[in-house]
Amino acid sequence: MAKLYRIQQEIKNYFMGKKVNPKILSPESQKELSIYKSLAIDSLNSTMRKIFPLCYKILQDNWNPIIQEYYETYPSNSAIYNQVAKSFSIYLKDWKFRWKYRNENYPKWLFELAEYEWVEVDLFNYYRDRKISDDSSDSNLKSSGELIRLTKAHKVYRFDYPISKIVEHLSSERQIYNLTYFKKAKERLLIFRDRYDKIRYFLLSDGSYYLIDKLRSGTNVQDLYKKFYKKFGITEVDIDSTEAKLNDLLINFTKEGILTSS
């Protein structure tokens, strides 16, 4: 089996832009193979444009060589086609990319934007949870001893830049600002697929971030509240108002379809 294996290893090298052993794969064969590589990059190019429309707006002039280099350096290890885009943010974050395009002054948040755009697509790669809680009444939440947790179709991110504002700005038809306009400002986002299969996000404060963290592994409402009061030192006096806020939050989550009970 060795010969075919060796040939295919050289084909892999060729596709990954690495050195190829000309004794196994002649320069003529490499030229022939270029048709396949070129076709693959063409289709990757259009897929990536659909997945990363905002990054494309920024990278426009260098988009084609960037896609080729991405194809060569981060070949997909998944048979599911759109997973090919999974590593784009890692590629953009890598020093080699930043060094190569150092004169372009690409914004420092570029890879975070790519991360966000990828998640918007990736959230569809999660199975629908069997039972999405839809009774959003306050009493139902508290009275049931059931475990509640977040559906699988969510991701929590901590960005160094205000990605939600950047996305909003770049998505608008308005002229793009000077890309350095957005300064560092940490932002925590819960990005999720809602009950209508729209991708949405919540900006998370310290409190809601803590809550989300607990809801990821599953908890019942009483325990959740108790832990919350302890963590943030909520005293008797403030318990009623805090509980009202927490209830609102959970009701909101339920309405959005991101809580599931088991």
């Binding site: 089996m1 060795a2 010969k3 075919l4 294996y5 040939i7 295919q8 290893q9 084909i11 892999k12 596709f15 990954m16 794969l25 064969s29 490499q30 030229k31 022939e32 193979l33 270029s34 048709i35 396949y36 590589k37 070129s38 076709l39 693959a40 990059i41 063409d42 289709s43 990757l44 070949p75 997909s76 290890n77 998944s78 048979a79 599911i80 086609y81 090919v84 959230l123 569809f124 790669n125 999660y126 199975y127 629908r128 699988k152 179709a153 697929r193 299969d197």
Partner: protein, 410 residues
Amino acid sequence: MDKSKLKYFGLGLGYRREIRKDIIEFLENPIPQTLIQWLEIVPENYIYKGGLPRKNFEEILDLGVPLIPHSVNLSIASASRNKKRLEFDFHLLRGLKELFDEIKAPWFSDHLSCSRIGDHYFQELIPVPFTKEAVEVISNNIKFLEDYFQLPFLFENPSYYSHIVKPEMRETTFINSILKKAKCGLLLDVNNVFVNSVNHRYLPKQFIDELDLRRVVQIHMAGHRKGYKSKLANHEIKILDTHGENMRDQVLDLFSYTMKKTRPKAVLLERDSNFDNEGFEGLTDELKKLRFIMDSKLEFFQENQENTDESAENSEATSSAGAINEANADNTRAEGVQAQPTEIDKEALIAQAQASIDNAGMDDAGDIADVNFDAMNLPSSTAEAPAPEKKEKSNLENDIDTLSQEFMDL
């Protein structure tokens, strides 16, 4: 695989997101129709999915129309370092198994090519060398997959644009050898045969004749376009298999020719892009052409073939083409490396083609004449297609040149 035990599905269309609504509307119409009797899906697009993609898929599932999977990433031609077969991606296999069970797949299929090397998927159907070793590896891979899924497997003859390494045998010998060794079925892509015949200069009908047609379970029909230039090297090909255009008359002619010789269980119109050109009506017009040929050839086939291709498993040499090919495969084995690339063995090929044309008495030349498109009220481009004139005996070179020229003149 026992073809006679497989269900007959008739004519189908490739399901694509872009035509989801049209397909639903078409199939929900209660008037009986024979244009979309089943849908082909690319299963890799529907595994491990939630949300909208899953919802859309369930909508198609609910229509009750049979779904047949056609994979792109099983990579049956990939070799592994030490094993006799590929170490498959079990995440993929598990997902596919779940889906095949859900849709009650009658069989599954993929291309005779390699898309995964090591752990990487290259999103392209990379050609496989026509070697004895590849026959071995591919057959082992197919046997493993059939065993895993407990379903019959068909491989598709792909369009290929180059020989990466020197072939040890002819493509038809290669295909027949795998069919024999793996005992699987063939998904014959007639458009791919035509595309390859132009790019590699051979006679498409002779190619069809040489295949073991008893194993053809499914047929693909599609369109192609002229030329593609590599963006990475100074290299160009004559025609490209795009699935984005209407079927060319020559490909319909070849389909008609093939349908005289075999009765597949399913015929499919593949369309992957350019849906807006003539709208969904354009696609149904394309399906009408296929339906017309299928109906007219069925009668012919039943009269002449007496179902010889229905039980490929049990009749090893009932068709002469099959017998010739088995012999070819045996020769290849006995003589070791028997390189037969077009360039080197051109003379032998010409002689062989000449003999086959002589024997066939040129009755294939007028084949399209009995496909009466006028009767179907089809768009003028098809209706006006001239029937090829009866030709004098010609050598292979002239035939190929004429074929290429006819194509380029389109």
